[in-house]
């Protein structure tokens, strides 16, 4: 699998796809959706779709695709090769959501949560397949969230398509297994060949599974923590593991949309705490003249000491 396009800029989201088989443009097709790398604090999350004509379901099954989690890395690579060999009737597409995209989305002013991000990635991929001419009739999706709501959302988006959202769909439907293999192979390659945009020299690539519970991942996170910048863009800043480490080991950063309260925050923001009305005011000298709005708006102040 060639991730060249993603690797030229791994800070953004990227779509990769196989050519669309002609057969899929002429026959009713089924399509599977699955994701890889939802939980890890490191690296991208990859959404994958795989599709083939309904008439070819048995051929796909004969390739012995299975849930990617039950396979070894080598087995997944081999199965992906088999899918590639079956390109006369099997097509796939991937949406690679870079860790920076995930951090940026989840830490926006108006929060964009992981479920919404995931659903939009999946919907975008199905839309892509339809726009590319795939005669879509059936969609099968694996889910971690509540299935009914997701099913409703997808059915609304794609009228005329029969949508089945099912937990563990990746082990029940070969076309979903195939999607999970494509997604997982891409995620593995992306993590393994990660090119750090930061100037970190030789980076220790022993980051373990990337899951927060993995001690190797945890020690990697500690090793590459910078007190000011936090982490390289390989890390999902929005994960609680990363946040907790930053809260304890890095310097505090305040944003204007932070939800702080209390006297300290008020003092920091130059507001008046309600408590200050109860304390005695320093009343020596005349009241200093307020500077004109022109200066306060421009944050201009006279300085007479350093």
């Amino acid at each position: 699998m060639d991730l060249g396009e993603f690797e030229t800029d791994n800070s953004v989201s990227c779509r990769l796809s196989s050519p669309i088989p002609d057969l899929c443009k002429n026959e009713d097709c089924c399509l599977g959706i699955d994701e890889a790398g939802r939980g890890p604090v490191l690296g991208p999350m990859v959404y994958g779709i795989c599709f083939c004509p309904v008439s070819k379901k048995e051929d796909l099954k004969a390739l012995k695709v299975a849930d990617s989690k039950t396979l070894t890395e080598t087995e997944r690579e081999n199965l992906f090769m088999k899918l590639d060999e079956a390109k006369s009737y099997v097509g796939w597409a991937l949406q690679i959501l870079s860790p920076n995209t995930i951090s940026n989305s989840m830490l926006q002013r108006s929060k964009y949560n992981l479920n919404a991000l995931s659903h939009d990635a999946a919907i975008g991929l199905v839309r892509y397949a339809i726009d590319s001419g795939v005669q879509l009739k059936e969609v099968f999706v694996d889910t971690v969230g509540p299935a009914e709501k997701y099913q409703e959302k997808l059915s609304q988006q794609f009228p005329g398509v029969e949508v089945t959202v099912r937990p563990k769909a990746d082990s029940l439907f070969p076309v979903v297994s195939a999607a999970s293999i494509c997604a997982k192979v891409a995620r593995d390659h992306a993590v393994k060949g990660w090119k750090f945009a930061e100037d970190l020299g030789d980076v220790d690539t022993d980051y373990g599974s990337g899951y927060p519970s993995d001690p190797k991942t945890k020690s990697w996170l500690l090793k590459y923590l910078d007190p000011v910048f936090g982490y390289p863009q390989f890390v999902r800043f929005s994960w609680s593991t990363a946040q907790t480490l930053l809260d304890t080991k890095a310097v505090t950063v305040h944003w204007d949309d932070d939800e702080e309260d209390g006297e300290k925050a008020a003092a920091r923001q130059n507001n008046t705490s309600v408590l200050s009305y109860f304390s005695r005011k320093p009343s020596h000298g005349a009241h200093p003249r307020e500077p004109h709005r022109f200066f306060s708006e421009r944050k201009l102040q006279s300085v007479d000491t350093l």
Partner: protein
């Protein structure tokens, strides 16, 4: 105004040897005074596509704009040579770097013309008009 009698001396001749550093003004308050690994973590991740500058800081998306110092002005970064032990002593400050422009960063949306810092750069021109000598 400080009540003590100490004098702060700015060694302006040190400006000649001072580094020309790229400056970034971030839209947040960092509780840190001191060096930071800007060239390792920040500069290499700044992207400049079709005049839109973007970067992430602590996972949050920022958009930037180059701001020039007012004409005829040079920006100075000052550093105290040695912190005096009492407030009666004179303080000596040297120029650690000079700059003619800096990047103003804003959270999610680029700084606009009504950004306080961008607008502040107009003050010297206005001050000149108000306070400068009048040509006959």
């Amino acid at each position: 105004m400080s009540a003590n009698s100490s004098v702060t001396v700015v060694q302006l001749d040190s400006a000649a040897q001072a580094n020309k550093e790229q400056l970034h003004l971030l839209p947040c308050e960092i509780e840190h005074n001191g060096p930071a690994e800007v060239s390792r973590f920040y500069s290499p991740t700044v992207k400049d596509h079709k005049h839109e500058m973007t970067v992430s800081f602590r996972g949050r998306p920022l958009k930037g704009q180059e701001v020039n110092c007012p004409q005829g002005y040079t920006g100075l970064v000052l550093k105290e040579v040695q912190r005096p032990s009492s407030d009666q002593e004179d303080r000596i400050v040297k120029v650690s770097s000079v700059f003619n422009n800096f990047t103003r960063w804003n959270l999610e949306t680029p700084p606009t013309s009504d950004d306080g810092v961008v607008m502040a750069m107009m003050w010297p021109k206005l001050a000149e008009a108000i306070h400068g000598p009048i040509d006959e």
